[in-house]
């Protein structure tokens, strides 16, 4: 589905990504792990066209434009950014409407997508008329994921969805992601909490210093010390 080849990105003189190769297959949930500052968020931003980069990214067999996030989103690649990126002054309903921006804010297709999202996150149904900024962190993360799902993604990318959330809420969100993946949605998940990500992932890449330090099969990992070695490689 997603094929990343030789992806590199720089912030001025600092090389944030160096010749990254990565794939996400159909129906796969792939985790990207690594310490702070390893380049995980830059990787997602580069794939999404939000950060300038070199290399080649293809999705469903066609190359993605390198600097047009809106064009990439129209191809069905949707990112839930770090820090959620919800539109705080808007209501939950308006945020969800923006998720379905490409089909407009109404109609049967919109209603069907909305019903699907509200069935995944029933708490959002109670909050539709509430301003998004006034919700709890967990609810905001649900909204961020729900908004992304309103776009009916062909590939969902999430940047640290567990950041700053209570374990119970994280579990709820991760279980929903696992269910979506089981229904056939490919997911690329950037996550610092390795045990959490590996519980749901089919494969994982460990990134350190902007490079792929290892590609691992979660079921073959005997201990997290083994992962930690890659972190500090």
């Amino acid at each position: 589905m997603l094929d990343v080849k030789q992806l590199s990105a720089r912030y001025g003189h600092v090389e944030a990504l160096h010749l990254i190769d990565l794939t996400v297959g159909a129906n796969e949930l792939v985790a990207v792990l690594g310490p702070n500052g390893a380049g995980k968020s830059t990787l997602l931003r580069s794939i999404m066209g939000l950060t300038s980069s070199s290399g080649r990214v293809t999705f469903a067999g066609t190359a993605l434009p390198r600097r047009s996030a809106s064009a990439i989103a129209r191809r069905g690649v949707v990112l839930v950014p770090e820090g959620r990126g919800i539109f705080a002054p808007m209501t939950v309903a308006e945020n969800l409407q923006l998720g379905a921006y490409q089909i407009g804010g109404g109609g049967a297709e919109f209603a069907a997508r909305l019903q699907h999202v509200l069935s995944l996150f029933p708490r959002l149904k109670e909050r539709l008329s509430q301003t998004a900024g006034s919700m709890s962190g967990g609810e905001q993360q649900m909204l961020a994921v729900g908004r992304a799902l309103m776009a009916k993604p062909k590939l969902l990318m999430l940047d640290e969805p567990s950041l700053g959330l209570a374990p119970k809420v994280v579990a709820e969100i991760m279980e929903t992601l696992g269910r979506l993946n089981a229904e056939g949605l490919p997911i690329l998940l950037v996550e610092q909490k390795a045990p959490l990500a590996l519980k749901f992932a089919h494969r994982a890449y460990v990134i350190a210093n902007g490079r792929v330090a290892a590609e691992v099969n979660p079921r073959e990992i005997k201990s997290y010390d083994e992962l930690a070695r890659y972190y500090f490689s």
């Binding site: 999404m48 066209g49 209501t91 309903a93 308006e94 409407q97 921006y101 109404g106 539709l128």
Partner: protein
């Protein structure tokens, strides 16, 4: 989508909402009082209504789109001067002259907006400030057309065909109708796909792009739409006053517009009207204080911005103690619910 009258009715059913919308009701009441009472207050209300249109444009670009512009006086000047020259030198009627003026302002907005809107924050503010200053200098130097500081006088009043809004009251009624149209259109914009996209990228450009919103295109569109309001205000100003000189569209217009926007409530559809009426009438309230008038006026503005940072339109938060769920009457939280209910 819920209609505007239905939204207003829903809002005013709750006595607490009546209190919340007191500044708006007060502003509307003052304009109605001016129409009935006549005299000096008519002129003040007229200026307030013209500025309400100008600030509505600023509100779309700044309040919804989260951008900064110190140069919208340029669009008002282009439209105002075009209207003045076409009606006085070439004998055009008011409406077509205004139309050409607005078209000129839109053309300039597209030409300068395309490169300028790549800038952000302070840089964008400085670039737009430069545009305002350049247009001001052209108005001063291009004497064969603008007559420089002497200005152009004898500009006909607003009118359609043979009918002219000759009396102060008639002008005020026409201006009131234009402001109602401006508010309604701003409300429609806020609740449209376009409006939601503006609010989205004002919060996070990256998040908006990641949803497929073409931020650069919408920024330009917001700039052009806001220029249309500024241009209409510019033409209205010259036809109401009957005179135009470069000072009419100087930096004072930008400063007044900003003050009205923030005092009224940036981002709120009714904010420009409330701000324009308050800022035009507040100094008159302190006229009895003579030499202390400006000091008290300044202190009053500071107090308003400290205790109601969202402007008069958000004053409800003062006694609610929580963010207003609906700081603009434009919000339509039932959209998604309606869509859900509409599903067969």
């Amino acid at each position: 989508m819920t209609s505007l009258p239905a939204t207003i009715f829903r809002e005013l059913r709750d006595p607490l909402n009546l209190v919340r919308h007191l500044p708006t009701l007060l502003a509307v009441g003052l304009v109605l009082y001016a129409i009935v009472a006549g005299g000096y207050v008519v002129a003040l209300a007229g200026f307030a209504l013209i500025y309400a249109v100008f600030v509505t444009g600023l509100n779309i670009f700044m309040g919804l789109g989260g951008q900064a512009s110190f140069g919208h006086n340029a669009f008002a000047a282009i439209s105002g001067y075009t209207s003045a020259v076409l009606t006085t030198s070439y004998g055009w009627e008011t409406l077509p002259a205004m139309g050409v003026g607005v078209l000129g302002a839109v053309t300039l907005a597209v030409i300068i907006g395309y490169p300028t809107l790549r800038l952000k924050g302070h840089y964008l503010a400085m670039a737009t400030l430069a545009i305002g200053l350049i247009v001001y200098e052209i108005a001063v130097q291009w004497q064969s057309v603008t007559q420089g500081y002497t200005g152009i006088s004898g500009i006909p009043p607003l009118g359609i065909g043979k009918w002219e809004a000759a009396s102060d009251r008639a002008q005020l009624i026409v201006l009131s109708l234009i402001v109602i149209l401006a508010m309604l259109s701003a409300w429609r914009i806020r609740n449209s796909r376009f409006g939601r996209a503006l609010v989205a990228f004002s919060g996070s450009e990256d998040a908006a792009r990641a949803l497929g919103i073409d931020v650069a295109r919408y920024k330009l569109a917001a700039f052009v739409v806001s220029a249309v309001y500024a241009a209409i205000a510019g033409s209205l100003l010259v036809h109401i006053v009957g005179f135009v000189s470069p000072e009419v569209f100087g930096m004072s217009m930008v400063i007044a517009g900003f003050t009205m926007l923030y005092v009224g409530g940036i981002g709120a559809v009714v904010g420009p009207l409330v701000g324009a009426v308050m800022i035009n009438l507040l100094p008159e309230t302190f006229r009895g204080l003579k030499e202390y008038q400006d000091i008290i006026y300044g202190v009053a503005l500071i107090m308003i911005l400290i205790y109601a940072p969202g402007g008069f339109a958000s004053m409800s938060t003062l006694w609610r103690g929580a963010p207003s769920e609906d700081d603009t009457i434009a919000r339509d939280p039932g959209l998604a619910v309606n869509a859900l209910e509409a599903k067969p």
